[in-house]
Every structure is written in structure tokens, then in C-alpha cells.
């Protein structure tokens, strides 16, 4: 993604921050963690050391990401769950892809909006 000016960079940072916050909330809610979402950091490893999640939790996260962001995580792409940032990368990459598909399928972008 090419960011051309300060406003675009700020907008991107705001969107990214918002997405990570939403992912942390989803994580706590979906896995019934007794942790405040604000205590999680975006780079904290989720599996192994760190939050110590396991494969059953990764299914729950796949469900949470699908329900909230309509993004499907494919089999084998376990690294998408390695941290909140990794999930954000995956959601951003695939959300824009799905939006592109919608446009080509007859959607339109209102340039005046």
C-alpha cells in the first residue's frame, strides 16, 4: 500500500489501531478470557509462550474473525493467529481483496462520498 501524504498515513494508523482494538476485544470475548482487552499487546505471541492458546482456540478465532470481519482464514494458515498484529495484517489484506471482488461483481465506488 502506498501512502502519499500525511493525512493518508494518519488515516491508515487510525484504521489499524481501531482494527487491533476490535481484534483484541474479539479475542477476549471469543475465548472467554478473564483479561481486559487493553492489557493485551499487539505483538504478544498468542500460542506457546504468551497467551498459551491451542488449536481449539485457533478455531474459535477463525469463527470470531469470520463473524466480525467476514474474512475466512484458510486451512493451514495458522501463522495468521500468531499475534494481534498478524491477525490485523491478514484481515486487512483479505478484506480489501473481498471488497475488490464485490466491485468487479457489479458494485460501485461513489467518488463524491
Amino acid at each position: 500500500m502506498a501512502l502519499n501524504n500525511k493525512n493518508e498515513i494518519l488515516e491508515y494508523a487510525r484504521e489499524r489501531g481501531e482494527l487491533c482494538r476490535s481484534l483484541r476485544e474479539m479475542l477476549v470475548e471469543q475465548l472467554c478470557l478473564e483479561t481486559d482487552p487493553e492489557f493485551l499487546t499487539n505483538d504478544q505471541p498468542l500460542f506457546g509462550r504468551g497467551l498459551e492458546l491451542d488449536s481449539i482456540d485457533s478455531l474459535e478465532l477463525a469463527v470470531g474473525i469470520f463473524d466480525r470481519f467476514h474474512v475466512t482464514i484458510n486451512d493451514g494458515e495458522t501463522e495468521a493467529f500468531s499475534s494481534v498484529n498478524a491477525m490485523a495484517d491478514y484481515v486487512m489484506a483479505h478484506r480489501s481483496q473481498e471488497a475488490a471482488v464485490d466491485v468487479s461483481a457489479g458494485g460501485f465506488i461513489d467518488l463524491d462520498a
Binding site: S55, I56, S58, L59, A62, V63, F66, I73, D75, T78
Partner: protein, 160 residues
């Protein structure tokens, strides 16, 4: 569509006294299934659960739903052109399918909403909500006379 117990027994590794599914009446392989379990006073567990007050143990209701789930995902391996109204099952590797039935990995938000007694016919339903790798999250429910007796979600694994 109707799948009888003899076919079910070829698709599941479970045997007496733990084959807890009598018939499958609706099936979308890999997506959803509806099955029947008839409860009779001859079930072995009524000896102790409870003397004088036979009630199906809740965990066995969950097991029935898990077995229906195994049929739902096992049949996803059937040939794509299988005619489910009148199947002949040629080219189906039953042994392979039965050997891939996995384990219950999680039981979540299960609510038992009514007692199930001898004479009741359970209508079991399993709907796949999501899958990732060898795990699937399944929404399950069962009813007797159109009244829900159990619902919730389970996670099942599949051997690869």
C-alpha cells in the same frame, strides 16, 4: 433421504452399547444433518441412571449429537455424484471414513432444557458453523415432540 443403522455402523467406529444414533433422515454432507435416536427402557445405563427414575444422561445426548456430526463430515468424502435418494455406495471406502472419525474437543454453552425418558424419540440436528484445519465447530440441538431438550455448540476433531 434415509440412512439406516446398518449403514451408520459402517461409517462410525462406535459399537454396542455406545452406538447412539438410529437413523439419519436429512443430510447435506459437510454442512448439516438431522438424525433420530429412539430411547427404550432396554438402554443399559437405565440400570443405574436412576433406579426407579430412568433418565437419559445429558452427556449421552451430547454423544448422540457428536455421532451425527461424524456422519455429517464423513459423508463429505463420498463421491460428489452420490444419489442420496437411492445410494448404492459403490466406490465408498467405509473403513477409511470410520477410521478418520476423531474426538470431541470442546463442549460449549450446552443447555439441557428437558428430561429425556424411555419412549421418547430424539430428533437430533447438527449444523457446521466453521472449520479450521482438522477441527470443526458444530451447532447442535435435539428435540422431543418439537420441544428442545438440549442445544449448544461442540467442537470435534478429525484424524488426518
Amino acid at each position: 433421504m434415509k440412512m439406516e443403522s446398518a449403514v451408520i455402523a459402517r461409517l462410525l467406529p462406535h459399537r454396542y452399547p455406545f452406538l447412539l444414533l438410529d437413523r439419519v433422515i436429512e443430510l447435506e454432507p459437510g454442512k448439516r444433518a438431522v438424525g433420530i435416536k429412539n430411547v427404550t427402557i432396554n438402554e443399559p445405563y437405565f440400570q443405574g441412571h436412576f433406579p426407579g427414575e430412568p433418565i437419559v444422561p445429558g452427556v449421552l445426548l451430547v454423544e448422540s449429537l457428536a455421532q451425527l456430526t461424524a456422519i455429517m463430515y464423513g459423508t463429505a468424502d463420498f463421491p460428489a455424484d452420490t444419489n442420496w435418494e437411492n445410494p448404492d455406495f459403490t466406490g465408498v471406502d467405509f473403513e477409511d471414513i470410520a477410521s478418520k472419525v476423531g474426538y470431541l474437543a470442546e463442549i460449549r454453552n450446552i443447555k439441557f432444557r428437558g428430561l429425556v425418558r424411555p419412549g421418547d424419540q430424539l430428533r437430533l440436528q447438527a449444523v457446521c458453523k466453521n472449520s479450521f484445519n482438522n477441527l470443526s465447530l458444530i451447532m447442535v440441538s435435539a428435540s422431543v415432540d418439537n420441544k428442545c431438550v438440549v442445544d449448544g455448540t461442540i467442537t470435534v476433531s478429525r484424524k488426518i
